[in-house]
């Protein structure tokens, strides 16, 4: 059963920009919608409005047939009544309570035995059973993250909001949790909205992506589609010029991995900790184009294909190829002329193995 999230909110900040964001999305249980935008784009404001912590100046918020906010009708449902779980960026665990009491904090309406049962269930799900007696100050950042997630999910919210869920963690913990968090969100079966400015976080966690830039939602779609084919310059600037393609790791050898991308196979550097489904990310600037396969080259990947589209971008040309998957290359105009690029022409794309970044998809 899906729930429809629909909002159109406007909020002015004293001395700051006006944020206006509108979005209508069907959210399936366990599905993750990423609200992606640079800092200052208003994504945190939107999330706080969804949680009911901030009140928009105008507009509406509706979720699963309920109106949470309506400016003209003066409706504002209190955060307590929305049944929304919120994962704060720095976790905001209650420092005076044990991990157990933190997880059980929102279960005050349940009888005591059920509270204990639910806390136990959450602790098992997140692998934090050993920590129940500790205080938040006595556990690591990654563990705090799990506790905060358990606390947010324990009361069975209808919608889970996550504010930059990985940014407060140190790099190794972040790598470790990135793949796991997505699997966890799917397993929890609650639709989630993740707010982030981090591209890797967006790729690793999201099913669908909404780009928030310059105070408005610019584009919504499957994550790799939005990254690979931004609808306008503003989106392109905020997501970067990158090819993001669904892929699968099929083999490993000597620090390298064999990756199946569409109908093609490529070699990439093994990032470790990654199995199965991934996103292969290749920056358009790092794709070299040649007329024919080169006998001697250091590039591990030579992909034969045809040019499907070309569009000039200042001194550069954006060339779209079909080489078993859709690949965009950014080359200079003289470079394009030298190779004799034209739509329909065969071409060979060279991609170095280290230029392919793999992001886990849990």
């Amino acid at each position: 059963m899906t729930s429809l999230l629909s909002f159109d909110v406007e909020r002015r900040h004293a001395g700051g920009p006006t944020i206006r964001a509108a979005l209508t999305e069907e959210l399936a249980p366990g599905q993750v919608l990423v609200l992606f935008g640079p800092s200052g784009s208003g994504k945190t404001t939107v999330m706080r409005c969804l949680a009911g912590l901030d009140r928009p100046e105008a507009g509406f918020i509706r979720f699963a047939g309920e109106t949470w906010f309506h400016g003209a009708e003066r409706i504002h449902v209190a955060p307590q009544m929305r049944r929304v779980g919120l994962l704060f960026q720095d976790h905001a665990l209650f420092p005076h309570l044990s991990v157990e009491a933190n997880i059980g904090f929102g279960l005050h309406r349940l009888p005591a035995p059920e509270q204990r049962e639910r806390v136990g269930e959450m602790a098992r799900l997140l692998g934090i059973e050993d920590l129940l007696a500790r205080r938040p100050g006595q556990i690591s950042g990654g563990q705090r993250q799990r506790v905060a997630l358990a606390r947010a999910v324990a009361p069975r919210p209808r919608l889970l909001l996550l504010d930059e869920p990985l940014s407060a963690l140190d790099a190794p913990t972040r790598e470790e949790l990135r793949g796991e968090l997505r699997a966890l969100l799917h397993r929890l079966g609650v639709p989630s909205v993740v707010v982030t400015h981090d591209r890797t976080e967006a790729l690793a966690l999201g099913d669908r992506l909404a780009v928030l830039a310059e105070g408005a939602v610019r584009q919504v779609g499957p994550v790799h589609e939005v990254f690979s084919s931004p609808s306008d310059r503003v989106v392109a600037r905020s997501v970067g010029t990158e090819n993001v393609v669904p892929a699968r790791i099929v083999g490993r050898e000597a620090g390298l991995v064999q990756v199946e991308v569409g109908a093609a196979r490529v070699l990439a550097v093994d990032p470790g900790l990654v199995e199965g489904e991934v996103f292969a990310c290749i920056r358009a600037e790092e794709v070299l184009l040649e007329r024919a396969p080169d006998a001697v080259t250091s590039a591990r990947n030579q992909l034969a294909g045809t040019v499907t589209a070309m569009s000039p971008e200042g001194p550069l040309v954006r060339v779209t190829l079909d080489c078993g998957f859709r690949l965009v290359a950014l080359v200079t105009r003289p470079g394009a002329e030298q190779v004799g690029l034209a739509v329909g022409r065969p071409v060979v794309a060279l991609v170095k193995a280290p230029a392919i970044r793999l992001v886990p998809r849990g």
């Binding site: 949680a51 009911g52 912590l53 919120l86 704060f88 905001a92 005076h96 929102g106 309406r109």
Partner: protein
């Protein structure tokens, strides 16, 4: 030392502290969170006793409690005796005079509690009142306790307002500080010295306690 006066002073200080916890905490919580434009007016009224001579407050209280004022008259009708020059009147005066000593540290410690913890509690379905007792108050406890102790110590030694409103009736309104004044008037410096030393020791102990509470880091 005048044990009757000691007992009276302790009762007065305890009553004042208890009452100020009950009315001071909600007031402080309101001051710590409200965005009302005229909040400064309330803050100024609360802080008045800090700068006002005790005799001024005492004078107005005396007038308000007098039989000719509506309040004083109503009190006489209800309880059959005037509020002025009674323990009850003393308590009212002491509560008003102690307001800033309770409310200011309460408000400071309550507003020091991380706002996001309060918000986290709200999103977990806990009401504002529930959040106050489960999150804000426990985290502000050292500051609230320090404020309560300070209020107690201040009420224990209060002189000016007590003298204006309560006078000097043994067993009813004669507190420790009045008894010191009394002893000196009667040239009984030994008794005055004893009581004074006692109050000095108590005040010093209270301040040591208060400052050590403030230094204590929040649990976690």
């Amino acid at each position: 030392m005048d044990l009757q006066a000691l007992r009276l002073s302790l009762a007065l200080a305890a009553g004042t502290t208890a009452t100020l916890l009950v009315i001071g905490l909600p007031l402080a919580a309101w001051l710590a969170t409200t965005r009302w434009r005229f909040k400064v007016l309330v803050e100024a009224v609360v802080a008045l006793p800090l700068v006002l001579p005790p005799t001024v407050l005492g004078f107005y209280l005396l007038v308000a409690m007098g039989p000719r004022s509506p309040l004083g008259h109503a009190w006489v009708v209800a309880f059959g005796r005037p509020l002025a020059f009674s323990f009850g009147g003393l308590l009212v005066a002491s509560i008003l005079y102690g307001l800033p000593f309770a409310v200011q540290p309460f408000a400071a410690s309550l507003s020091g509690v991380d706002r996001r913890l309060v918000e986290a509690s709200h999103t977990l379905g806990v009401s504002r009142i529930g959040t106050f007792f489960r999150v804000t108050l426990p985290l502000a406890a050292p500051g609230v306790l320090a404020g309560a102790i300070l209020t107690f110590a201040h009420a224990l030694g209060e002189f000016g307002v007590v003298l204006m409103v309560g006078g000097n009736i043994a067993g009813e309104t004669r507190t420790l500080s009045i008894s010191i004044f009394d002893s000196v008037e009667q040239l009984d410096h030994a008794a005055a010295g004893q009581t004074a030393l006692f109050l000095l020791a108590v005040s010093f102990a209270v301040l040591v306690l208060t400052y050590s509470l403030r230094r204590r880091p929040v649990l976690g």
